[in-house]
Structure formats: C-alpha cells, structure tokens
C-alpha cells in the first residue's frame, strides 16, 4: 500500500511515528503471542506498566519480547489514583526505560476507571516541568482536553469509552470537538473493541489510536492486530480524503439522461 503524499508521520516531543497505532502489552495469553501481535499491528510504540519486581521467583521479562530497535517504549502510570503516585511511577519508568516519554493516567474511580481530572492536571504540570514528554489520558470532555494542553501535555488522549470495556467510541461528537480545538495531537485511548472502532476514531480526526484489550483478548490476537492495522489505515485515509456530506434522500450514481426506460419511475 502506498502512502498518499498528504500523509505525514505523527510527531510529538522528540518522537516521530509512521504508524499511528499504539499498542498496549497487557493481558496477552503469552509473551510470544504478544510479540507476534505487535508485529502484525505495524505499531512502532508500545505501552508498558511499572510494577514491583517479584522478590521470590524469577519471572520472564517483557523486555525480552520487545525489540527496542523496533518499538519505542511508552511507560504508563496505570493504576495510580493520586498525582503523587503517578509522578513517582513516571520517574521510575523514566529511570527503567531511559526515556522521558510517559502515558499519564490518574484514575478517579475503581469501577469505571475514569480519570480524576484534578489529579491528572496537577500531575501533567509537574511532569512537564520535570522534562517529560507527557501523553495525558483523559475523559472525552472538550474543556478538560484544553486544560491538559495548556498544562503542557505533548498529546491529549481522550477515551473512546472506559478502559477494557470494548464499547468503542461512545461520544463521537466530543472526540471531534476535542480534535478541532487542540493544537497538539490527539490520540484516542481506551475502549476499542473491534477494528471499526479504530476506523471511526481516525475518521473523526484522531491523530492516533492506542488500544490493548481489543487485541490482547480477541480470540485470535494476531489476526485482530492485522485488522486494527488495516482499520487505522482505512480510517486515516478516509479522513484525509474528505468524506461526502450525508444527505436526506438518494442521489443516483448513474446518469439520468439516455435511459431506455420510458416510464417515469
């Protein structure tokens, strides 16, 4: 597939990506399947979580399955409920990954895993001051998205729907509003259940899509990763191509003149 000349790599901070798909590395049945799915998706950037090492048993390291010449690591602050915890986690992730990239996630509710806007904003400000390239996870609130941009985030990441829910893009109008108001890139993060959700996000103007569960827990993760790759291309090209307006009534695709029919149907 050729890339139309209007397409450019996605850039933020010191990073640049040809693929606009970002994949998580959690919940795979095995690290071997994860490695295959990442390759099939064509992604160039993968998220990882920061957790305490086990002191008792030696576990296989996920880094043994991620080729760092091929993928940029995006450490997250998943599971943090305060700015303070998220900041600590981000600092540890920077030390372990030797990269200043961080996906900031500060949650506010254990049932919905929706982000806490106040803590999120505070953590964004602090991490930006500390020199991080911050990708901030947020709800699909257009005003909050602007606040996050003002706080210095390199990327705003509104959710499509709650993490791991597979509900897709619940509020497409807000996603479009957010995209139209931002000057930094918008990556839709969370909620993708199937390939068409990815296409919809890109058609709404997303600069990227980050997903994990939709691939990791699919019956065939490698095939789903392939589907996501094609959906990303389809949605992105569709957006750039400029879709037609929707109309109330039909418009014939074939000429009205020169028909042999005599009846006025």
């Amino acid at each position: 597939m050729t890339t139309p000349s209007s397409e450019t790599p996605l850039k933020f901070g010191e990073f640049q990506f040809e693929s606009r798909l970002f994949l998580g590395t959690g919940k795979y049945e095995s690290l071997e399947i994860m490695r295959e799915a990442l390759a099939a998706s064509g992604t160039q950037c993968v998220t990882v979580a920061v957790r305490r090492v086990s002191l008792d048993s030696k576990q296989p390291g996920i880094l043994d399955f991620i080729d760092r010449d091929r993928y940029v690591l995006l450490p997250n602050t998943a599971g943090c409920y305060t700015a303070q915890d998220a900041i600590r986690t981000a600092r540890l992730g920077r030390e372990a990954g030797l990269s200043s990239l961080v996906k900031l996630e500060v949650l506010g509710d254990r049932l919905t895993l929706l982000p806490d806007p106040v803590e999120t904003l505070e953590a964004t400000r602090t991490l930006v001051k500390e020199g991080f390239t911050v990708l901030t996870y947020t709800s699909d609130d257009p005003v909050m998205a602007l606040r996050i941009q003002d706080a210095g985030a390199a990327v705003v990441m509104p959710l499509g729907s709650p993490i791991g829910s597979g509900q897709g893009i619940n509020n497409p109008r807000n996603i479009r509003l957010i995209k139209n108001s931002l000057s930094v890139p918008m990556i839709v993060d969370a909620g993708v259940g199937t390939a068409s959700d990815v296409a919809v996000a890109f058609e709404l103007g997303a600069d990227g899509v980050l997903l994990n569960t939709g691939v990791a827990l699919a019956e065939d993760p490698v095939r789903m990763a392939t589907a996501m790759k094609h959906a990303a291309l389809a949605g992105r090209h569709s957006f750039l191509a400029g879709r037609i307006e929707t109309k109330e009534y039909a418009r014939p695709s074939s000429p009205e003149s020169g028909k042999i029919a005599t009846s006025s149907g």
Binding site: V50, R52, G61, G97, I163
Partner: protein, 70 residues
C-alpha cells in the same frame, strides 16, 4: 557466629541483608539485571551510578521493572 546484618525494607517487605550490602549486590542476589530495573531509595530515584553505595539500616527500597500494560 552469623554475619553482621542490617534490616531494610524492599518492596514493602522487611529483609535482612549483610551489612556491606549495596543495590548492586542485592540485585545480583535477586538475579535481576540492573539495566532492566529502576530503584527508589527512601522515596528518591537512585541513579544507576549510585548502585554501589552502601545501604544503611532502615533504608526503604523500591525495585520496579516493566510488565505488560496498556
């Protein structure tokens, strides 16, 4: 006669380490590659060039690594 030891906390668990311990020796004992972890000493990031400094009694260590996540 047992070796002199120090009491520290590692990832929230009390541990007894030989008194001349360092982060380097602890990681070696735990079979962890220094390049694959990050360490906090008493809530402050410990840079890799300080892994050879001796640990003291009561030190609190966090040792983390990357795992799968979204």
């Amino acid at each position: 006669m047992s070796q002199p030891s120090i009491a520290v906390e590692v990832n929230g668990e009390p541990r007894s380490l030989p008194s001349a311990s360092t982060v380097t020796s602890l990681l070696r004992h735990l079979e962890l590659e220094p390049a694959r972890v990050a360490v906090e000493l008493n809530r402050e990031i410990l840079s890799r060039d300080r892994y050879d400094q001796p640990l003291g009694a009561g030190d609190r260590l966090e040792i983390v690594t990357f795992v799968g996540g979204g």
